[in-house]
Each structure stands twice: as C-alpha cells, then as structure tokens.
C-alpha cells in the first residue's frame, strides 16, 4: 500500500471491480479495497443475469456459470403461467445463473491484472478532506488505521454504503425503497431451465418469490418483500413456509439474506472528489431487483470520467457531472420506468394480478421481453394499468 493513488475504490463487488479494471487499463494508479476477507462471500444475490448485458463486460466462462437459462416463467397468485424472454431464434439460452463467489473474485482479479492494487480485509472508516474536497480515505487493515490519499474516491460499497453519507450525500433508504430478502440454495429438487417468479401476497407481499436453477438438482429459491410490508412475518419465515409447502423434499445447503435498493434514481451521485457506483448509488432495478450489470455499466462510466478528470487535473463536480448525466440518460431512464411499474404492482391485490395473467390467454408471450409484455397487458387491461400509459407513448 502506498500513501497516494489517483483513484481509490471502496468495495470489490461487480461495480467496484469494473471501475478499478477500467481505470487501471486507462493508465491510472488505482487502489481497490474490500472489507471482507474473501471477495464475493457471503453472497447476497440470486445470481441471475442477462447474457447480452453481461457480455459487454466479460467473456462468459464456465468457471462462474452455474446454469444457462432458456427464459422466464411468471406465476400469478392462482398459478397461471406466463412464459417470456425466450430467444426469438429459438433454442438459444438468454441468461445465466452465476456462481458469484467465483465471479466477483474473477472480476477483482481482472482489475489486478490491469494494474490495480487490491487489498482485502480493509475497511474504509471515513473520508479525508481538504477545502471541502474529498482527498482520500481512512482505512482499517488488521486493526490498524491508515490515511490513504487519492484524487478521487469511488464509493462502490453496496447496500450498506457509507461513502456517500460521509461525502454529504444522503443515501438512506426508506422502508418503501428496499426489498428485504432471504434465499436458500435448495438441493434435491428439479428446477428445470427457466427462471421462475411467483407473485402474490401468499409468497411475497410487494415483491416476488424466485426459483433460479443452479444445475439440474439445485436452485436459488428466495423471496423479497417490500420493506414497508415487512414486520410481523419476516422474509426468512415466509421462505421456510414456502419450502415446507411446495418443496417438501428440498434440502437447504446454503442461506443468503440481504436487501436490494428499489428506490429508483436518487438525486445526487457525485460530489467534489467523489463518485457513487452500483448499489451504493441505488442503481439496482426497482422492479426486478437486478443490480449486477447496472453496477458494472455504471462502474465503466465512472472510470471513464475519472480518466478524463485525470487528464484535466480537475476532479470537481464540474467534471464529474458527466458521469451523473451519462448514467441518468441510460441506466436512470430504465430505473424510472421500472419504478413506475413497481409502484403500481405493489398496489394490486391478488385478484387483480390473476386478472392480468388471465387476460393474456391465447397470446404467445414466450418471445416477449418485459416492455412488450407490459404493453400487451396494458392493451388488455387499460383500466388496471392506466397509470402506466406514459410508458407507451
């Protein structure tokens, strides 16, 4: 460890590692720190990603792919099935279920190979500042605190992000802005090769239950409930109940708990000498809870702006605003649409959800992606879905 870098990145999740790799490849002097002693572990994720979104960043490798997925099946509360997202040219797989313990470490390793220094078991405990600008971090490694300077600090520190708050950006999530989840890796089942989503109050109020296959006989079986609907019955208890009823032969070989931001775009993600990326910037999708590839996309954008800032010798908001503009016009737009759909969905009762599913009777949805499926639903159910009309003009 040196006492000065161009860029310090806090958090070695997918967002942080792609930022580090991109910045280091661009010739910057980069330090990537991770507070855990093992990158990627414990997992806080259902590990589902779209093939195309992932391939923008890394060549798929069987070392970290647990399953290939043909498409998705959504089940309404009464069990009506909606198939979607199959590849149009038939037979091709559209998504992966990852092995994130391996995946996250591979991304960090790629950052290291690109020239970044990586430190694990190293926790940021505060920011260094001078004249109102962020100038580095305080970090604890093995019980000792170090001051490490940098031109810019990237907060890629996930759901529990503190970097933004230290930098004056309030990222606290309200109960309505978080899905609280639990998941088991369940063995001794046959999950097939579709990602499955179950809707309804019985499974997951204000969220959904998922079954994501990991190989022939295992799956990530989990659920997320809207924070505001959590309380008396916890995510974990609901999940136990589901398993007892629907997968009585299933055996739990791993347990995961965690929260996903579903707030939609937050107001501010940069300050002088500071950028937030990924879950720390609340860039996960409010509808699906997916945040892996958004974090990677944002990380790349952040690093590219860092490279420009380095050339200019200016890390003030004036320069960093380019990151803010760029992610808002891409990721941010999608988040806003998803938020609109989420806000409506959480208001619908089971009967209305069933009605929506039944309205697709006789329509082949199997090749549709989410936007076209929503449009098909909207055409059939304008009354229930009226507030989504702006999505389709």
């Amino acid at each position: 460890m040196k006492n000065k870098y161009d860029v310090i990145i806090v958090g070695a999740g997918p967002g942080g590692s792609i930022t580090a790799k991109t910045a280091a490849s661009g010739g910057l002097d980069v330090l990537l720190i991770e507070k855990r002693q093992e990158i990627g572990d414990p997992v806080r994720c259902a590990e589902g990603v779209g093939k195309d979104a992932l391939k923008k960043h890394i060549e798929p490798d069987n070392k970290w792919i647990a399953s290939e997925i043909k498409g998705s099946k959504i089940f309404s509360p009464d069990g009506t099935e909606i198939k979607m997202s199959e590849d149009a040219s038939s037979g091709m797989k559209v998504g992966y279920v990852l092995e994130r313990k391996v995946f996250d470490r591979v991304l960090a390793q790629e950052a290291a190979m690109a020239g970044a220094e990586v430190m694990v078991k190293t926790r940021a405990t505060g920011l260094l500042r001078s004249n109102g600008k962020v100038t580095g971090i305080k970090a604890m490694y093995m019980g000792e605190t170090h001051n490490i300077n940098a031109d810019i600090v990237i907060g890629a520190d996930g759901i529990e992000s503190k970097v933004g708050r230290w930098g004056g950006i309030d990222t606290a999530l309200k109960p309505n802005d978080i899905e609280t989840g639990a998941q088991f890796l369940v063995s001794n089942i046959e999950p097939g090769d579709y990602n499955q989503f179950y809707l309804g109050d019985n499974y997951a109020p204000g969220g959904y239950l998922w079954v994501f296959p990991k190989g022939k006989h295992m799956a990530n079986v989990g659920l997320g409930i809207l924070g505001s609907k959590s309380g008396n019955v916890r995510a974990i208890s609901r999940l136990h109940r589901f398993l007892e009823t629907y997968m009585p032969k299933g055996k739990i070989v791993e347990m995961v708990v965690g929260g996903v931001p579903v707030s939609g775009p937050i107001k501010q993600t940069v300050a002088d000498g500071l950028i937030l990326v990924g879950d720390a910037a609340r860039q996960s999708d409010p509808l699906t809870g997916g945040g892996i590839t958004n974090a990677m996309d944002a990380g790349k954008m952040a690093a590219e702006v860092c490279i420009k800032a380095n050339e200019k010798g200016d890390y003030s908001v004036k320069t960093l605003k380019e990151y803010e503009d760029k992610w808002r016009s891409t990721i941010g737009k999608e988040l806003s649409k998803s938020l609109q759909v989420k806000n409506l969905l959480v208001k619908l009762n089971d009967e209305q959800l069933n009605q929506l599913a039944h309205s697709l009777d006789g329509i082949d949805t199997s090749k549709m992606e989410l936007p076209s499926l929503l449009f098909a639903l909207f055409k059939k159910n304008p009354k229930i879905l009226w507030e989504l009309k702006t999505l389709f003009v």
Binding site: K35, R36, Q37, P42, R44, R123, G158, I159, E160, S161, K162, R165, T171, A172, L173, K174, P175, I178, T180, G181, A182, G227, S230, G231, R234, A235, I236, M255, V256, V257, G258, G259, P261
Partner: protein, 58 residues
Amino acid sequence: MIVNVNRFKCGYCGACVGVCPAGALELIETWIEVDTTCTGCGVCAKICPVGALELNEK
C-alpha cells in the same frame, strides 16, 4: 444502546445499515455495531430479513 442485535441470528447482510436514517449502524466483518446517534426510530428492526434487531424499551 437502543437497538439490540442478536448476533446469533444476524446474517451480516447490511440491509439495516442501508436504511438507518441516522447512520448509526455499521457492518464490520460479521457483526453490526450500533453507535450513540441511534434515535430508536425502529426502521432497521422492521426491515431486517431475519428479525435479528430489537428495540430496547429503556
């Protein structure tokens, strides 16, 4: 301390840290620490996926 953490239940996921309006929580390695800025608002206890947090009445 107003919030009690049941360390035997907690899955160190950090969700509570993300919702605390006072910034009173921190996830360190495998445990949650609560500092004196906790106002007792109870949001963390509400959203914890396993119910590891409880408000202390006193």
